[in-house]
């Protein structure tokens, strides 16, 4: 079959302050209609840069060279900006991560899709409207008449990602480039979006899938390029890459897939009083227009010293409310929470405040959880408690350097600002900040969800080590089942505010009792589902 995308020796350099900085070197591939090519690598590997170059959107600071760059018959090397505009959308579509920001938040879904439709050809209004609804329906959006009028923020994560895909395929391109299209989505939604993309290739679309997640890629790709520092280190069919990785870096990537991590820790039966326990907690919200929403319904959880409780659930399952109740940020309407056996809920905040350092939180996005104008030194220093908070000068610095060393970071980071840290470094600083308060319980809210898989693996290992050394109790909330399995001793599965399943992680994985847990596990990419799949 003829190729719709031919790339030979693609190289890309950025103009830096000290001369050109190479971002991509010697990348070649071909893509035929109905096939899916995956670009896999960590952030900084050049995968997104390549994706943008295929649309002529590498940016004014970038210089693109190649011996061939043919996009659906057009020679990308000679195309002017106006020429590229003819190609974009019409011949090649682009789907980005997180439709909440990738659709214009001020414009309705129908206007965004209509823009893509009419960017290349005039279309009378009634036909435009009909086509918009058709496209939304084709993208698997139920009730498109209503959804078309809504804005991205009014849709669920899955629906808005489908709407974004609808804009990308509106003008009928033959090539679709999807850059991390399922990142940050719940596993069930991720499955649906992958199915949608797979369906498009079955209809003859050529798909370039860019992802950091080898497991996702393996689901629908026909061919995988593994990128590192802008170069292809290995390529082949996904099955071969997963089961017989040849390059050391690919091996590292495969090893970091949570399923191949050491099996869940053996369940020890030590009847020990829980550090943190919630007994039959319920929370009800009043809707603005009247009516009630039961966010938590008779939920009991407990976690002991040195153990990890994994909390699983999709968005809307009550995970966040449970977290707020456990953290003492919200009073439950019924039931009680105890910390170290003493009442933690139903007491005045003044009584709770001196005990707050005992429980700390690591959030999903550390950049948002840090004051951007504070240095690491100040961020960590603020969290010091007791007499250590009174330390000044070199003594204070020494304590903070120790805290950084504990999480595997060097002292040189102390004077940096959060923006100057990598994602992994930031999350380590967030952990260090939680730990300088010397807590007994560490609550991790999607703490590794935004990290590359290798970094994710390192941070999980770090948490496990700190837990061993300090006897920390961990509450680990995530939508990522593979991560939960790797780190948890026990899991609870939340759905619509109720615990639908609980037990040792091994048991839940191998014999999920509730149909919902079974479905969650079935939605896992097959490379990850291990014994369950």
């Amino acid at each position: 079959m003829t190729t719709v995308l031919s790339v030979r020796d693609l190289a890309l350099t950025y103009a830096g302050p000290t001369g050109p900085v190479p971002a991509v070197r010697g990348v070649s591939f071909d893509l035929e209609p109905g096939r899916c090519l995956a670009l896999v690598g960590e952030s900084g590997s050049g995968k997104s840069t390549i994706a943008r170059a295929l649309l002529g959107l590498a940016g004014p600071a970038a210089t693109v060279t190649a011996t061939e760059l043919t996009v659906d018959g057009e020679d990308g090397l000679t195309l002017t900006e106006a020429g590229w505009r003819r190609v974009r959308g019409d011949r090649v579509g682009l789907v980005l991560q997180d439709a909440l920001q990738s659709l214009d938040p001020l414009r309705s879904v129908s206007r965004e899709v209509a823009e893509a439709l009419t960017a290349h050809r005039r279309m009378p209004r009634p036909e435009r409207r009909r086509r918009v609804l058709e496209l939304l329906r084709a993208a698997g959006i139920p009730d498109p008449e209503q959804r078309a009028r809504q804005h991205a923020h009014e849709l669920s994560g899955g629906l808005r990602q489908r709407a974004l895909i609808a804009t990308a395929i509106a003008a009928g391109p033959r090539v679709l480039i999807a850059d991390e299209p399922t990142t940050a989505l719940d596993v069930t939604v991720q499955r649906q979006v992958l199915d949608l993309l797979g369906g498009l290739t079955a209809d003859g679309m050529a798909l370039v899938l860019v992802s950091h997640d080898l497991a996702v890629v393996a689901e629908i790709a026909d061919h995988v390029l593994v990128l590192r520092d802008g170069e292809v280190v290995e390529e082949g069919p996904p099955r071969r890459i997963l089961h017989d990785p040849r390059h050391p870096y690919t091996r590292e990537l495969v090893a970091a897939l949570p399923v191949d991590a050491p099996p869940a820790r053996e369940a020890e039966d030590r009847p020990e009083p829980p550090v943190l326990a919630a007994e039959r907690v319920s929370v009800t919200y009043h809707r603005p227009g009247g009516g009630r929403l039961t966010a938590l319904d008779d939920v009991s959880v407990r976690v002991e010293r040195g153990r990890t409780l994994g909390v699983v659930g999709e968005s809307g399952s009550g995970k966040s409310t449970l977290l707020r109740v456990l953290l003492g940020l919200q009073e439950p309407d019924g039931g009680e929470v105890t910390l170290d056996g003493a009442a933690w809920s139903g007491v005045p905040e003044r009584a709770r405040r001196p005990r707050r350092p005992r429980m700390q939180i690591v959030a999903q996005d550390p950049l948002a959880a840090f004051d951007p104008r504070w240095t690491v030194h100040r961020l960590l220093g603020e969290a010091l408690t007791g007499e250590r908070a009174a330390l000044r000068g070199p003594a204070r610095r020494e304590v903070l350097v120790d805290a950084l060393t504990d999480v595997g970071l060097g002292p040189d980071l102390l004077d940096r600002y959060p923006i100057a840290l990598s994602g992994g470094q930031r999350q380590r600083v967030a952990i260090a900040r939680a730990l300088v308060a010397e807590p007994e319980v560490l609550v991790c809210d999607e703490a590794v969800s935004a990290l590359d898989v290798l970094v994710q693996d390192q941070v999980l290992a770090l948490l496990a080590r700190l837990q061993r050394e300090r006897g920390l109790a961990l509450v680990f909330v995530s939508h990522d089942l593979a991560v939960i399995r790797q780190i948890s001793d026990e899991v609870v599965v939340l759905r619509e505010g109720r615990v639908v399943e609980r037990g040792p992680v091994q048991t839940v994985w191998e014999h999920p009792a509730h149909p919902y847990s079974r479905r969650l596990l079935a939605d896992l990419p097959t490379a990850l589902s291990g014994t369950a799949g």
Binding site: P60, G89, E115
Partner: protein, 315 residues
């Protein structure tokens, strides 16, 4: 009534109540402040006749000045509630008539200045997004200059060149549209400078948002990208700023109306302050406060219309 209808009514009522409180507070503070100033009302009213013994009593009687201050204040509020602004002490006319004749030119001036400033700032922001840094620095310097130059000096300069030397526009008055050009331009300078800087920054910042990349990947033209995607985002942010510019507008109007010899509220207020003409001053304060309330209501409504996410935040 539907749920949305009732919710809307509630919002409107709450806003109205808030507006009344603001107006009441504004006139009360002014009333107290003016009464605390040295000098008696009788002196102001009598002017050169201040030493005629019989007249003084007549004035006290006519204005009710012998009553306790609290009674006078309540009397004044009751007058306001009836829509009676009182009579000017100095000009011996009804304040309502006086304000009525002066408000038109000032509104013309303010609207014209805001339009000039807004349109120029928009055009500059949209047309210069992708200019090289050197020319942007030059532009920024020009804007800085527009902000910094004192209004009276800029006005005099424009008069000198465009009116006296080249005779393009009349130097004073408010009779014709061409007489509006120079004052409006003068008043627009600082406002346009601030708006321009703000808008350019906002548009430039938005350029790197993911939705811009999505839009560009659809193959749309740069002009459409700017007008349809970037400008509304910058508009939401700049609306609030433009609303707060009202203060600068009023302060500027005082100077501009004086420099160009235009009739208007600014000049009326200035004369009233100099002459301690209390009823006129109170009326001006009332109108400015009402303008603030009105503008902030319009700004808030417009912001929600452009960015529906704001509605969710407020709920």
């Amino acid at each position: 009534m539907t749920d949305t209808g009732r919710a809307l009514l509630r919002v409107v009522l709450r806003r109205l109540a808030g507006a009344l409180v603001v107006l009441w507070a504004a006139v009360t503070v002014t009333f107290v402040g003016l009464r605390a100033m040295p000098g008696s009302v009788e002196d102001v009213v009598l002017g050169v006749h201040a030493n005629d013994p019989g007249l003084r009593e007549q004035v006290r009687d006519a204005l009710g000045l012998d009553r306790p201050v609290l009674v006078q204040y309540l009397d004044f509020l009751a007058g306001l509630a009836r829509g009676d602004l009182g009579r000017s002490y100095v000009q011996r006319t009804d304040v309502a008539d006086l304000i009525g004749s002066q408000i038109g030119p000032t509104v013309q001036l303010a609207v014209a200045a805001l339009l000039i400033a807004g349109v120029t700032a928009w055009l500059v922001a949209v047309l210069t997004v992708d200019r090289p840094p050197a020319s942007l620095r030059l532009l920024s310097a020009v804007e800085m200059l527009a902000i910094c130059v004192p209004t009276f000096w800029a006005g005099s300069l424009l008069l000198l060149l465009l009116s006296y030397r080249w005779g393009w526009f009349p130097a004073a008055g408010a009779g014709s549209p061409s007489a509006l050009v120079l004052p409006a331009l003068t008043l627009a300078l600082p406002i346009g400078g601030i708006l321009g800087q703000f808008l350019r920054e906002e548009v430039a910042r938005r350029q790197h948002d993911p939705f811009v990349l999505s839009a560009r990947a659809r193959g749309i033209s740069p002009l459409r990208l700017r007008t349809v995607h970037l400008v509304p985002h910058a508009a939401v942010a700049s609306l609030t700023l433009a609303g707060n510019m009202l203060g600068a507008l009023i302060g500027g109007a005082v100077v501009v109306e004086t420099v160009f010899g235009r009739p208007g509220l600014g000049r009326t207020a200035l004369t009233a302050v100099q002459g301690k003409d209390m009823p006129v001053l109170l009326a001006v304060v009332l109108i400015v406060a009402a303008a603030y309330v009105l503008v902030s209501a319009v700004v808030d409504t417009a912001a929600v219309l452009i960015d529906p996410r704001l509605q969710e935040v407020r709920r």
